[in-house]
C-alpha cells in the first residue's frame, strides 16, 4: 500500500501524522510526505524542509520519502496523486481559509476528496488506534463498500476490528396506501424479510466470510447526514468509511454528494473510498 501523507506544518497536522504512523507500519512500502508551498515569496523553500523534518520526527520512521511542490494545495496534491501511483492519500485539517477563498476555490480537503481517483483519508478530531470502524453503505455503488475497501486498501484493516455496516433509511411514504413497516424496521428484520435494504446489508456481510469476523449490520431511520454524524459520535468509532461519487459534466452540478457534508462535520478520521 503506497501512502501519500500531506502536511502543512501546522500543529493540527500532528494528529494526522500520528494516525498515519499506525497505517504506515502496515503498508509495507515507504511512506511519502508531501508539503505544498502556496507562495514562494511568502514561504521560501527552506521552510518546507523544516515542515518535512518535523513531520519525520513525529512519525519516528526511517524509511520516508519527502516531496515539496509549489502551487495551489489541492491542485498540487491531485497532481502528485496522478504522478505517484499511490493507493491512499491522507490529509490533515487544512489551513484556515477566508470565507471568500472557500466560496470561490473551496477547501483543499473537499477538492481533493472530490477529484482524487484513489481513497482519501481526512484526519481530524481525537485520533486512536483503529479498533472500531463504521462503514456507511448507501447502496449507491454496484460493489459493496466493504468490498471496495478491502480491494482498494487490503492492508488497512488487521482483521480484528469491530466493523459496523451502517445503512440509513431516510425514506418516508410517498403515498398513503404504502405499507410502512419497513420504514421503521431494524437491520435483522430487513434482512429476514429480504427487503432491498436487507439484501444490501447481506451483500456487505458476505464480503468477509470468516466466521470470526466481527461484523455488525445496523439500520437507522432519519436524515442521512444527521444519523451518520450522531452514530459516529455515540458509537465512539475510530474510523468512519464512506463512499463518494466523482461527478462529471452536468451531473457534477446537479447531483448532490453527501460525502463533503460528512467530511465537514464528522469529528473523527473519515476514509472516502471510490
Amino acid at each position: 500500500m503506497r501512502i501519500l501523507m500531506t502536511t502543512d506544518g501546522s500543529s493540527r497536522s500532528e494528529s494526522a501524522l500520528r494516525f498515519c504512523a499506525q497505517l504506515a507500519s502496515r503498508a509495507g512500502e515507504p511512506l511519502t510526505i508531501l508539503t505544498v508551498i502556496e507562495h514562494t515569496r511568502d514561504r521560501p523553500p527552506p521552510q518546507a524542509d523544516v515542515i518535512l523534518s518535523d513531520a519525520c520526527n513525529i512519525l519516528g520512521m526511517q524509511d520516508v520519502r519527502t516531496r515539496v511542490r509549489i502551487g495551489r494545495p489541492a491542485d498540487e496534491i491531485l497532481s502528485e496523486i496522478e504522478e505517484g501511483n499511490y493507493d491512499l492519500v491522507i490529509l490533515g485539517k487544512n489551513r484556515a481559509h477566508t470565507w471568500l477563498a472557500l466560496f470561490f476555490r473551496g477547501s483543499t480537503v473537499v477538492n481533493v476528496a472530490k477529484h482524487a481517483h484513489i481513497p482519501v483519508m481526512v484526519v481530524r478530531g481525537h485520533v486512536c488506534p483503529i479498533l472500531r470502524v463504521m462503514l456507511c453503505d448507501s447502496g449507491g455503488g454496484v460493489t459493496p463498500i466493504l468490498s471496495r475497501l478491502t480491494t482498494q486498501l487490503p492492508d488497512l484493516l488487521k482483521g480484528d476490528e469491530e466493523i459496523t455496516i451502517l445503512h440509513v433509511m431516510s425514506q418516508i411514504s410517498a403515498g398513503p396506501g404504502v405499507r410502512g413497516q419497513q420504514l421503521r424496521a431494524g437491520a435483522e428484520e430487513l434482512i429476514e424479510t429480504h427487503t432491498p435494504e436487507g439484501e444490501l446489508l447481506k451483500r456487505d456481510i458476505k464480503v468477509i466470510e470468516r466466521p470470526d469476523a466481527n461484523l455488525v449490520p445496523k439500520v437507522l431511520h432519519g436524515l442521512v447526514v444527521d444519523e451518520i454524524l450522531a452514530e459516529a459520535r455515540s458509537g465512539d468509532y475510530d474510523l468512519v468509511v464512506i463512499g463518494a461519487h466523482r461527478g462529471k459534466g452536468w451531473r457534477r452540478f446537479l447531483l448532490d454528494d453527501l460525502a463533503h457534508k460528512i467530511i465537514a462535520y464528522v469529528d473523527r478520521p473519515v476514509l472516502i473510498v471510490r
Partner: protein, 394 residues
Amino acid sequence: MTESDHSHRTMSNNAQGYSSTNNLEDSLEDSLVILDKLVLPEVSRPWWERAHLAKISLFISSLYLFVVSITLMKDGARGVAPLVRGLFSVTNVGNCLGFGWLFAYTIMSGSPVAAASLTFFDAGLLDKLGAFAMITGSRLGAGFIVLFIGFIYVLRGRDRATSLSMGVISLTVTITTYLPGFFLGALILRAGWLDVVQLDSGALLRSIIDRLVAPITEPLVNLLPNWAVFLLGLGVILLSFKLFDKCLPQMSIKDSQLGWLSRLVYRPVVMFVLGALVTMISMSVSLSLSILVPLSARGFVRRENVIPYIMGANITTFIDTLLAAVLLNNQPAFTIVYVGMFSISIVSLAILFTVYPRYLRGVLGFVSWVTDTNRNLAIFMAAIFVVPIVLMLI
C-alpha cells in the same frame, strides 16, 4: 424468479412442445409463440403516430370547458355577491382568507376557488387585497387534500405515520411559506411595486374566445339566475380539471435511471425546479406529488428531497389561476396572481438558501409530533379547521 428466468423457461417449454409434435400446424403455432416472446427493437414512429388522439381530445375539451367555466363564473359572480357578503359576511381580509380556505375544503380543490376569487374581484365584490387573501386561502385549503386521503387510510386501519406523513408535510410547507408570502404579497400590492406587470388576453384572442364560448354561455346566462350561472361555472371548472387530470401521461421512471436520479433528488434546488416544472404541466400539487412515487418502486421518497419539491410545486400551481386572470381580461387580476407567485417564490428561495437545514428538521420534527399520537393528530386536525372558521368570524 427474475423476469429473464421466466422468459427462458417459457421458451424452453415451447421448444419442448415443438419437438414432441410432428404436426406442422402445431409447430408453426409454437414458432409464432416463440417469436411473440422475442423482444424486437422498437421501430421509431413519428410523434403524430405516437400521440394518443383520445388524450389530445380530452386536453382540448378540458381547455374549452375551462374557458366556458371562467366565462360563466364571471357572468354569475354578481349574483352571489349578496350570499357572500350577507350569509358568509366576507367583508375583510381575514374573512377572505378564511372563506377561500374553507371553500377549498368544501369542494376538495383549490384552483376553482382561486378562479372564483378572481371573478369576485372582477365583479367588484372583493378588492385587490381581498382577492389575494382568498387565493392564498384556497391554496391552504388545497394543501389539506393529500392529508384527507391519508386520514381515510388511517380510518381504514392503516398505519398513522405512514399514511399521514406526506399530507402533513405538504400542508405544513404550504402554511409556512404561504402565510409569510401573503404578508409580503400584501405589502407589494399595497405599495404597487409590481403593478407594471400586467397581461390581458388582447382584443383578437378575446374575440375568438367569445365566438367559441358564446353559443353555450349566452343561452345559459339568459335562462338562469346569476347565482345559478356561477354555481354552474364552478361545476364546469371542476369537470375541466378532472378531464385535464385524465389526459396527463402516465409518469413512470425506468429502473435504470434510478441510480443517478436518486442522487439528483438530494439537491434541494434541483428538486425545487423539478417540483415547479412538473406542477406547471400537471397544474395540481397533489397530482405532481404522485410522480415522486415512481422514484422508488416501493412508494418511498427521501426525507431530504420532498420539501423543496413541494415548495416548487406550490408556486407553479398558480398557473391555471394566471390563465383565468388572462381569460377574464382583467389586468389587475393578473397582477394579483403574479404577486402571489412572486412573493411565495421569494419566501421559498429565502428558506432554501438560508435556513433550509433547520427548516427541514423543524418540519420533520413537527410531522413526527403530529403523527406520534392520536391526541396530537386531533389537535392538528382541530387547528386546521378552527383557524379558518375563526378567520371567517373576525
